[in-house]
Amino acid sequence: MSMPFYALDKPGEKGVVLGNEAFARGIFESGMMVAAGYPGTPSSEIMETLSIIHKFHPNFKLEWSTNEAVAFQVALGASMCNARAFACMKHVGLNVAADAFMTAAYAGAHGGFVVLSADDPNCYSSQNEQDNRYYGLHALVPVFEAINVQEAKDVIKYAFDFSEEHSTLVMMRTMTRLNHARGDLTLGEINKIEDRTYNFDKDRSRWTFLPSNARIQRLKQIERIEKLRQLSDEFPFTQLNIKDNAKIGIISSGVPYSYLNDAILKLNLTEKVSTLKMGMVFPQPEELIGKLFDNSEKIIIVEELEPFQEDFVKKLAFEKGYNLEIVGKKYFQRNAELNLGLVINGLTKAMEIPNPFVDLKVKTEDLHVASPRPPVLCAGCSHRSTYYAIKLIEQKFKKNFVYSSDIGCYTLGFYKPIEAIDTCICMGASIGMANGISKLHDGPVLAIIGDSTFFHTGVPGLIDAVYNQNDVLVVILDNSITAMTGMQPHPGTGIKITGEPGTKIPLESIVRGAGVKEDHLWIVDSNDLKETVKAFEEAINTEGPRVIISRHPCTLYERSLKKGEEITPVVIDREKCKNCMICIKNFGCPAITLVDDNIVSIVERQCTGCGVCINICPYEAIDYKKG
C-alpha cells in the first residue's frame, strides 16, 4: 500500500479528502497518543483512517473498544497518563458513554482529551437525530464545531491544545454533512509525540469521586467553565464580521454556516448583514454577541435541529437589556438537516426580501416515479437464512411470535419479505425489552441481536434474563464482523483495529458464563437450513432463558477474504421451474430476479453460491451450476 495523502509528512501539500479523513489527520497532527472508539455511522472512518495512518506512523496507540462507554474510559485513562487522548463515537454513542462523561467533566483533562460526537441530522443511518450540543451544556464541557473539511482538521487539532492548556474535556461536535463530505485540505505540521513523558498522574483526589472529592471537583468545574466563557470571545475559529450599514445580524456555526456563507453571496447581501460564526458553540462568545446586538435591529439564528443558540441568545438579550427581534426556528425547520435552498428560503423570509431562486427547477410532476430503492440484505446474506428458518417455524407453530430486535444489518429484516422485526430502539435493547415483553405476552418472545451488538450492550440483558428466569429466546445473529458500519473487527473476531491478532472471545463462552444451561444453547451454521430449523423448533419447545447462536460470516466479508476464488453459482432448471415466485416473495435474495417480467432466473454476477435457496424451491428447480 502506498502512503495515502492524509498520512504524508508534507506540510502545505493540498488534496481532496473525506471529512472523516480530515478529522483523523488533525488528530494525528496534534500528537495524539491514544485513540479509542466504537464504529457508528457517520463517525467510523475516523478510527479507520487513524488505523491506516498507524501503518506508516506506528508510534501511537489505538483500539476498537467494546462500546462507547469503554472507549471513553480508555481515552480518559490515557489522558490521566499525560497522553493526548481521543474518543470517537456517533451521537447516540455518547448516551452510552454519558455516565463517565458527566463525571469526568468535573475532573477535566490532564493530557489533552477530545471526544468526538458525530451527530446525524435527518437520521441517515441512526435511530434518532438528537442534538448533542446539549451534552456540552449539561456537562459544562466546551463544544467545538467546524464549517468545512479544512476546519475539521484545524479545529480538532487545536482542540487538543485547548483541552490541555485549560485542563478541560473538549467535545468536537460534527454532523453527517461534514463527516461524509469531501473538500480540499492543506496539510499541516505533525507534532512529535515522543516529546513528553507518559506516566499516571497520581492526583488521587482528582480522579476518585467520593462525595467529599466530588464536591470540590464540582466547584473547580464551575470555576473552569466561567474562565472558558471569557475565552470563547477570543476563540480563533470564531469570527465576528460587522458591516457598517447592516441592520441584520446573523449567528451560525458548523455546516449551517457554510450554507449561510453561500446564501449571503447568492443573495448579494455581503454589505447588508453582519455575521457571527462560532467555532466554540458552547460556552458562547457573550461579548461578541453583545457587539452584534449593538449593531443590529434584528438577529437571525441559523442552526440545525434544536433552538440551542436561539434560546441562549434570547436569554442573553434579556439579561443585557436589549430589546431586539430575535428569530430562528420560526424560519428554519427543527427536524432533519438544512441545505442551501432551505437557508436561502428562511433567510429571505426572515429579512422580508424576495427569493429569486424559487423557480429554477423544471416541473417533474407529470413524469414517472422511480421505484423506491430501500436497502435489502445482500445476496447470500446469512441473516436471510436465519430469518427464513424462524418464519418456517412461526408458520408451523402458528403462535404469536414477538421479534424484539436491535441495531445492525439485520434490522433490514423489518422490510418485505422478511418482516421479522417488531422493535428496534437502541444498541442492546433487544434482550432487555424481550425480558419485559416475556412477562406479559402470550407466545414466544425472541430477542434478535447481532454479534457486535451483543458484545456492546447485549450481555447485561442476557444476564438479566438468566438471573430472573425470563422466558426469552435470544437469537445471536453472528456474522463474525461489525458489518453495517463497514466490516470492523470486534472481540469475537480476535483481530485488533491494527490488523494484529488479539484474543478471540467466542460468543458461546460468554453465553455459558452468563449461566445459560447447555441444553438451552444451540449453535448452528445459519446457511445450514436443516440444522437451523431444527434448533428453532427445539428452542421454541423449550422454556426459560435460552440462546441460539446462528453463525455464518458476512457474505461481503467472506468474499473479501476469498478474493479471486471461483464461485459456483446456482442455476434454475427451466423444465422444473413453474415460476411460482415463492423464492422471490418469501425468501427475497436479490440474486433471484425475473426476466421478461415473469420468468424466475438467477443473476449470476450477484449469486454468492451459498446454496440456501436450493432447499426452498417446491419443485427442486434450483441447483448448483454444473461444470
Binding site: T364, L392, K585
Partner: protein, 284 residues
C-alpha cells in the same frame, strides 16, 4: 460561462456503479485546475442495494456542500432510473449524461401482487383452486423439499368476491394460464420500475442537453463493463460543458483506477471523449 463562479454536478447511481469514485476523480481534477472543492455523499447503504448520490461543487467562492435544488450544471447518471429520481435537481440547461444501465430494485418484485376487478368477479373460486403457491400452503401437492415457506392462503372469497391476500407471490401464473373465466384478475405493481424508453422520454421532456447511451456496451468494447463510469467521465470531458481540463481529468482517472485496469480505463475514457465531442450544446 465566464462570469459563472461556481459549478454544480451530481453523480447518481446504485452501489457498485462507481458513483463515489467518479465524484472523487472530478473533485481532484477541480482541485488541480485551481478550484475550491466540496462534495456531499450518501453512503452506508450502497452495498445493500440503496441509491448512491454525490453532490460535487467547485468554484472560487463557494463554501457549502449542497447546491440549491435546480442549480445544477451536470447530472451524471450511472443507472437510468436514478436519473429519473434526480430530475428534481435540474433546470432546463442542465447537461444530463445517463447510461441506459438498469438495476431493478429487488423490492419491486416483492411488492408485486394482483388486483381483482369486482365488476367482473363472481366469486367462483377457480383462481384459488388453481393458485400454485396456495397448493403448497394447503399441502394439496407434495413438495419433496421440506423447507418451502408459504405464508398463508393467497386469497379468499368474501361476500361473493375473490380477495387477494398478502401472501400472494405476484407470480401472475393465474393470468398467464387464464384461470379466471371472467378475466377479472389484473396484475398490480405497488412499486414499478418504468420501462427504459419511457424514462428516456421523461428526460427529453424536461431537458434539452442530454446524452442517453449504453455506457456498459462502450465499457465492454473497451475491455471491462466495470469501466462504465470512466466512459461517462470521458463523455463529460468530450462535451466540454464545465471548466475542467480534459487532460487533467484523463490524468486523474489514471491516478485513481487500479493499476491492472489502467489500459481499459484509458480506452474507456477516450471512447467516451469521442462520443461527447460529437455534441455541441448551447445554454439558453
Amino acid at each position: 460561462m465566464q462570469d459563472k463562479q461556481d459549478f454544480n454536478a451530481l453523480c447518481v447511481g446504485v452501489g457498485g456503479t462507481g458513483v463515489i469514485r467518479a465524484s472523487m476523480i472530478l473533485g481532484w481534477t477541480a482541485l488541480k485546475n485551481g478550484f475550491k472543492v466540496r462534495t456531499a455523499e450518501t453512503h452506508g447503504m450502497s452495498q445493500r442495494g440503496g441509491s448512491v448520490s454525490s453532490y460535487l461543487r467547485f468554484g472560487k467562492t463557494l463554501e457549502s456542500p449542497f447546491m440549491i435544488e435546480g442549480d445544477l450544471d451536470v447530472l451524471l447518471a450511472f443507472e437510468i432510473s436514478e436519473a429519473l429520481r434526480n430530475l428534481k435537481f435540474i433546470n432546463k440547461n442542465t447537461l444530463i449524461i445517463a447510461s441506459t444501465n438498469t438495476v431493478v430494485p429487488p423490492s419491486v418484485l416483492t411488492h408485486r401482487s394482483l388486483k381483482v376487478n369486482f365488476e367482473k368477479c363472481v366469486g367462483c373460486g377457480n383462481c384459488i383452486a388453481h393458485c400454485i403457491p396456495n397448493e403448497f400452503y394447503l399441502k394439496s401437492t407434495s413438495s419433496k423439499n421440506l423447507y418451502t415457506l408459504t405464508k398463508g392462503p393467497t386469497r379468499v372469497v368474501i361476500n361473493g368476491y375473490s380477495r387477494v391476500l398478502d401472501s400472494c407471490t405476484g407470480c401472475v401464473r393465474c393470468i398467464i394460464d387464464e384461470v379466471c373465466p371472467f378475466n377479472a384478475i389484473e396484475a398490480y405493481n405497488e412499486w414499478e420500475y418504468p420501462p427504459v424508453n419511457e424514462i428516456e422520454n421523461d428526460i427529453k421532456n424536461v431537458a434539452k442537453n442530454i446524452i442517453v447511451f449504453d455506457a456498459n456496451a462502450v465499457a465492454v468494447e473497451a475491455g471491462n463493463i466495470l469501466a462504465a463510469n470512466t466512459v461517462i467521465l470521458g463523455v463529460l470531458a468530450g462535451v466540454n460543458w464545465i471548466p475542467l481540463e480534459l487532460e487533467t481529468l484523463r490524468e486523474t482517472v489514471k491516478q485513481f483506477v487500479p493499476k491492472k485496469a489502467l489500459e481499459v480505463n484509458v480506452q474507456a475514457f477516450d471512447k467516451g471523449v469521442e462520443i461527447g465531442s460529437k455534441y455541441d450544446f448551447k445554454r439558453s
